[in-house]
Symmetry: C2
Subunit: 548 residues, 2 copies
């Protein structure tokens, strides 16, 4: 007779092993490392919560301090590699194998550890894809999470930064895993229950609030006129003709410019109510003027954003908020919304090749994917039509019978032809390929594949890849907006002109846009202070964004 | 100064309007209709919980009884159209517009109401796609849900049939919506908290448990030898060579046969541990022998299945269960797992055309999509490799550079060449096209599009569409396994033989399978009683499946 509850009795014995350190579920911060040594077993799959925003930093430090004779060879399955401790555990041998999604600030060091063989890489994922595997083959045995407050029963209030916590806890707690939460405070009653206490085994009160990175804040003062031009092109050349109401914006100054042009340029074009109304988006401060001007009907958030909490609380008609009044974000559901309910994803990238593949890695940095590939791909399981989606599908495949023709998501790459440090955005060969070879990866880390991209926007114009009929046309559509980069200079001018006649390439003048009109006066807010003013003083930017 | 909390104050006034009927949050069942009349406003988006399994039946009846001078023109946004009341509300004018995912048992009546103009159709969705829209443009103002028990604070225990409840409540409660739950009983303390009480506004105790349909139970006694042959072909010709460990099975006798052949035929082929180990699946009773034989490592469930609760409780190493011991299912997360974490979807269909498009509608029935298109499509946002996925991608596109070549999900259609009432499975034109024309739908209701299908399995053999290089080859690969249907007889025999030489078509003999070996003795269980025996008496089949 086989034993059918090894995992459950394993969980009970882990919880018992930690019990001597606990008063009820509460464990002192000084005992955090001892708790982890008691609870975690060698080889465990451990999810240390942390994405591109919030971090369970106390628990990260505690894990990095465990005795490797007790805890070692862990398999980390987590959204983000962001804090130094996230990599310290690999250097020390506490962890060995890694499956993750995002590694922005650690992208260089993670590459070094991979080169050095200190990390055995499972795979780099999108967020939603990693969450999916939590329920199939990467279920954590231990989850180390962060919340704002807890009560004595372990009920957790995550506050506006709910983010990944619900999905991490669900996968762990319901598959005999142990859930340990760091909290900023312990209260008699939490403001709302984000995580029910019966899913939480231990609570540790931290002496400082968990860390949150203001990743989605872009200072309007840093937006250039070239970026404003790309934003005008996108609004007039894509948002307007497709009538895109449901969408997601990536991070970046180009999309921040779009947000700040809606109440000015967008208004003049008569687009209010017709485009950019329903969002899956973090609460970008640069969206405040559009919200205040009545453009935005609703926003569902992956996470929150530092300084936005009071503003979100004051706009419950727009944002998803709880009975306590604060934002309820949820990365798993917002990614699902971005995948299936949005008609457009628009974002910036570092490199685009002649097939339209794009990547944010360089030969020495692995930034991870985050959510972009999930949002920036055509959802082939989608079965509900919408006007923009049908129009894009019709452009891509005009000859198919309409009833059997699927629509297409608009996946737009926007940027200047030359990026940071004057590096060309358009390249013959992606650095991602070099990196894949160096690390013997089975797949090059492509952020968005060329066959998912519908449009590329630069200051030189818009390339509509949906209208291209073969690889050669695609290549020249890309060269035709690549400006003075070597790829751009490699164009066949007559071919590009033919594509322009077919409106596969549209120049600013083809859209009635004068590049000289692209100036900073068009921005609804030209500084962070302007954003604060738009918010009626409710937006409280982090210190680094205040210069007044 | 605009008003930013219309929705929140709207919610408060709705809750207040119902308060006189409530003692705390509790409302008597006799007052259910009065409560809905107090809380719901004309034109509201209402989610009445119900999918292909559990139903908030008391609330469905209560809604169908409201006074149309008070409640009318509702927009129903719900997973399932299953109970008669789900359509009564349209006949009576209580509801007007519909967005939904599944309508199995009402597929004929829903078609009639659509023809008659009584229903204004938004769209037919997959489950996950509809959930996604709950967070963007179809957020419910009122959710009517079902749970097993509640405490006085409104904390809900949904038990094994958690299913859609968490995602419906999250979208509604955090966007100023009203949540009303029917429960089987009110307790001092619920066994576990599936839904925190601060998301629930009213609780109504029903005098009978909410209805659950045993949709995923297939009686092994009804499995035919032809189905066993298709199952053998699938196991030896697909599961084995691709090494498919992570998968989902659709509903049907062919896949039930596969489940029952794993411990017999699969064992003989030496496949234990190598295939079919990790599942996103409802708890199919026909999976019991494979579980008991040690084939299955884990199963994450969309919902539960009638009669399986005690068995699930006794197998916590395999299933996701709560601290109370019972199953925690979750349709949103299991669909995500099926989309992104599974390497294969295999299911039956009603009709397949020469492009490989398949459909379960007939000219007079709209069954809806359920979850199949979500599971049965290539997730283009996927970035993690696995051996089966890479192999399928390589077969589909052998000439692409490996580092830039995406994998492919295995999407398998399995069935006999002639289906129910001897109707041919293979057709020149899908009835779905006729229906789309009749109803002026923008898209024909295609369950799985041909370009997502990787293999078709019939008793005549396996067609591998990944290996086809053009539309003509695809057509003949399909004709080549279509048997004596008109489509099958329309084959060019020499072309089919050439495809066979290239292993695009594989006959049973090509795989070393003798069709005469396909007999019912190969099934690990040949009756429901056998399944009960395998379960050690833990499986308690519903009365209609008991004949002893």
């Amino acid at each position: 007779m086989p034993d059918w509850d090894k995992a459950r009795s394993g969980k009970l014995s882990r919880v018992q092993a930690g019990a001597h350190l606990a008063d009820g579920k509460r464990v002192k911060a000084v005992d955090a490392t001892a708790l982890l040594e008691a609870v975690i077993r060698p080889g465990d799959r451990v999810c240390l919560e942390g994405d591109n925003q919030k971090q369970a930093d106390l628990l990260a430090e505690a894990l990095a301090a465990v005795d490797t004779s007790v805890v070692r060879d862990l398999h980390m399955v987590q959204s983000g590699i962001v804090l130094p401790e996230h990599l310290d555990v690999f250097e020390k041998g506490i962890a060995r194998r890694l499956d993750y999604a995002y590694s922005g600030p650690q992208s260089q060091r993670i590459a070094q550890l991979l080169f050095g063989g200190k990390i055995e890489l499972g795979a780099v994922h999108t967020y939603l894809e990693l969450f999916a595997r939590y329920f199939v083959d990467l279920t954590p045995q231990v989850a180390l999470i962060a919340a704002v407050s807890a009560d004595r029963d372990g009920n957790l209030y995550t506050g506006p930064n709910t983010e990944d916590t619900p999905v991490v806890v669900e996968a762990t707690a319901f598959k005999n895993g142990v859930v340990i939460a760091q909290v900023n405070e312990i209260l008699d009653r939490v403001p709302r229950v984000d995580i029910p206490g019966d899913r939480v085994d231990f609570i540790i009160q931290s002496d400082k609030p968990f860390f949150v990175e203001p990743l989605f804040t872009r200072d309007p003062a840093a937006i250039t006129e070239t970026q404003i031009l790309t934003a005008m092109l996108a609004i007039k050349g894509i948002y307007a003709p497709y009538g895109v109401r449901r969408l997601n914006h990536g991070i970046g100054f180009n999309t921040a410019a779009i947000e700040l042009l809606l109440p000015t340029y967008g208004e003049r074009l008569g687009l209010k109510g017709k485009v950019a109304a329903q969002w899956a988006l973090n609460p970008h401060p640069t969206l405040i003027p559009a919200i205040e001007s009545g453009w935005v009907e609703s926003v569902h958030c992956f996470g929150s954003e530092v300084g936005m909490d009071d503003y979100l609380r004051a706009r419950p008609d727009i944002f998803f908020t709880g009975p306590d009044g604060s934002l309820r974000s949820n990365r798993a559901f917002s990614q699902t919304a971005g995948l299936y309910a949005c008609d457009m994803f628009i974002g910036s990238t570092l490199q685009i090749d002649l097939q339209g593949h794009s990547s944010t890695v360089t030969a020495n940095r692995i930034a991870g994917f985050g959510g972009a590939p999930n949002m920036g791909s055509d959802a082939r399981g989608r079965r509900h039509p919408s006007a923009p989606w049908l129009q894009a599908g019709q452009e891509a495949d005009p000859d198919a019978p309409a009833a059997l023709r699927r629509g297409r998501k608009l996946v737009v790459q926007i940027g200047e032809t030359f990026g940071d440090k004057n590096a060309p955005t358009f390249v013959e060969h992606l650095d991602a390929l070099v990196l894949a070879e160096k690390l013997s990866l089975e797949l090059a880390p492509i952020m968005i594949y060329g066959d998912d991209v519908s449009h590329i926007v630069t200051e030189e114009g818009i390339a509509n890849l949906l209208l291209c009929r073969d690889a050669d046309e695609r290549e020249h559509a890309i060269r035709g907006v690549a400006g003075y980069t070597p790829v751009g200079r490699g164009r066949d001018k007559r071919m590009v002109e033919r594509l322009r006649e077919r409106r596969i390439i549209q120049r600013p003048e083809d859209l009635g846009i004068n590049p000289l009109d692209a100036n900073r006066n068009m921005l609804a807010a030209r500084s962070v202070k302007d954003l604060v003013r738009w918010s009626g003083g409710l937006y409280a930017p982090p210190a680094r964004f205040r210069n007044w």
